[in-house]
Amino acid sequence: MASSVISSSPFVCKSSQPKDLGFPKSSQISVHRCQKRSISRKIVSVMAPQRSSSTTGSVKTGMTMTEKILAKAAEKSQVVPGDNIWVNVDVLMTHDVCGPGAFGIFKREFGEKAKVWDPEKIVVIPDHYIFTTDKRANRNVDIMREHCREQNIKYFYDITDLGDFRANPDYKGVCHVALAQEGHCRPGEVLLGTDSHTCTAGAFGQFATGIGNTDAGFVLGTGKILLKVPPTMRFILDGEMPSYLQAKDLILQIIGEISVAGATYKTMEFSGTTIESLTMEERMTLCNMVVEAGGKNGVIPPDATTFNYVENRTSVPFEPVYSDGNASFVADYRFDVSKLEPVVAKPHSPDNRALARECKDVKIDRVYIGSCTGGKTEDFMAAAKLFHAAGKQVKVPTFLVPATQKVWMDVYALPVPGAGGKTYAQIFEEAGCDTPTSSSCGACLGGPADTYARLNEPQVCVSTTNRNFPGRMGHKEGQIYLASPYTAAASALTGHVTDPREFLQ
């Protein structure tokens, strides 16, 4: 099976297919939305990595997806890496931690009576410090409510009853997952957010990156931002994904390869047959962590999987774009995914990669499954599948924090495939996990002292989150092993860092 996938390698295709199947397609795709379902599953950008010759008849320099999105948003026909351009913003997202500061700067700079540039293009998602008695944290949500009321912000996912999050129909939870679930992520657009993991939305084939409060204050007033066009690094992942691997393994593999600064200022574009086979949630996991390599944004060419997801959630029209065949990439990496093994990032850096099986002697104190990168429906499904396959009890406290209210409902409503109709929640209960809690960013970033599952002792935690710098989950001497939901669940069952193959297959 794997070999047949490999045989569709772009370099083989290039010589065996008629030339007109090369790159001109992308323009049709980007203009005629109705045709998108008929597009080839091949990623056109991989077809011809070298610059095109004049035989194509095209004199225009090829652009990458990111360059095209930024050019369009800057109303330019062409941009090149290094260009500083004013970009029109499609969506600005902010949350309870940075929103008050961003609106504070907006008011200070544009005046107390100033109005935001477009109340329908600003999405405010309280998610960081919600279920806490910390007065300043609670106040910050109140501040956001006031601003949203005053500015008629259309999308404010409010929470007022902290006692039972289900009593808040508008409340979502983790912003990056909520943005996708509520239809705010759309191919070809520019999404900015006051959070470094805004890059998650690159999974939808859009330009998405994190900004600070001051830049956000400027965007609130003008709808524009000055950006430097980043050069693009291309990561081609081919091969059949083994059943025990998840997108988290892929991105930890890549970050381990290029380091936590390997993509600083750059775009990471992911393509290849493996990427095409990934679900949207898995693609989000991949793009979520490009910032852990220093990347400005991550991006995945949109395809039928993308369109199905997006069209079920929004009626806003969008225009997907794709890298030209003659686009320039500053680096090309290739991975044969069929040969990869489950990995973890050891303390205290996301690039401190090791095979999960190499860490089997590491004794752990707890497991955490949650966050924008590891708290989605499919992340919990994976953990539940492994628990069900193993049929054992966890040996360490296992904390489950669904990213959003929708994920929480899925955990309680959806049956685990092959588990005789049992829901995720039933399987978690049988395995002895803590009851899935209210959706929020939770202990991923520590947070106020009373945050659920916060690492308050110098313990060892296997976590499906995205950062393991010192103090990230609370205690400075805490040790965090970043891992896929499969690996996290397997580790919970043994009390040691564990390769999930011990329980799967």
Partner: protein, 255 residues
């Protein structure tokens, strides 16, 4: 590792990733875009007015930045290592403090670098204080990586630090430093964090072209990369103050 052998860097391209340590020198956003693009501001709502051609901010600013205009910071160094992430600069529990609120701005300063591990024996800010005695932070690679929290450069500036001298920066930290004007993020050409110690007396001299870090304790001098066009933005106190000074946007009072 299996993947190590699978990795293939395109040989026709510069092998920038062979040593993935250095971030490219910052090119200021404020000088590079063509004057034509300034006119796109005229499409904006009244919040922003296009500058008259004769008063192009870029011309006047360049002319104003005469070589005599030097900035010098003198004080004690606080030395840290590589990959100092924003959780170590300002732990997440303090993000409830809103930087645009003056009282909370001061409090942020009192927590600057409090997330560093216990292996750092000297505190950047003494308990109970809001200001640091160190005016220059010296770091290694990838300073300020991690979250996009603007609280990070803000807390350093609020504590009274003037400059960070590091080998390289994470992108968002660099941009937030410039946007807020809180601190000068300066690039060293060599690994100064290995040659300086916390408590060393040092001077940073910002000059057109060849800025330097002088460590008076060791007697060594280090060249710093030019801060370029980001310098005047920080001098002015951030992008808003700069844009106003340069005539890119009207004064807040008009709003």
């Amino acid at each position: 590792m299996a993947a190590a052998s699978l990795r293939s860097v395109n040989p026709t391209l510069p092998r920038t990733l062979a040593s993935p340590t250095r971030s490219p020198p910052f090119q200021s956003p404020f000088l590079r875009f063509a004057p034509a693009s300034i006119t796109s501001f005229s499409n904006l709502k009244p919040l922003v007015t296009p500058p008259a051609p004769s008063s192009s901010p870029f011309v006047t600013r360049s002319a104003a930045a005469s070589p005599q205009e030097r900035k010098t910071f003198h004080g004690l160094c606080y030395v840290v290592g590589d990959n100092i992430d924003t959780d170590q600069i300002i732990p997440a529990e303090f993000l409830t403090l809103v930087p645009s609120n003056p009282d909370e701005y001061q409090k942020l300063g009192s927590h600057a670098l409090v997330g560093l591990p216990a292996s750092y024996e000297d505190r950047f800010v003494e308990p109970g204080e809001t200001k640091t005695k160190y005016s220059i932070v010296i770091g290694g690679e990838n300073f300020g990586c991690g979250s996009s929290r603007e609280h990070a450069p803000v807390c350093l500036g609020a504590a009274g630090a003037k400059a960070v001298v590091a080998q390289s920066y994470a992108r968002i930290f660099f941009r937030n430093s410039v946007a807020t004007g809180e601190i000068y993020p300066l690039d060293s050409e060599v690994r100064v964090c290995d040659e300086c110690s916390t408590g060393d007396v040092a001077t940073v001299e910002l000059r057109e072209g060849d800025s330097v870090l002088i460590n008076h304790t060791t007697g060594k001098e280090y060249r710093l990369k030019a801060i370029g066009d980001a310098g005047p933005v920080i001098d002015a106190g951030g992008i808003f103050a700069y844009a106003r000074k340069a005539g890119m946007i009207p004064s807040a009072a008009a709003a």
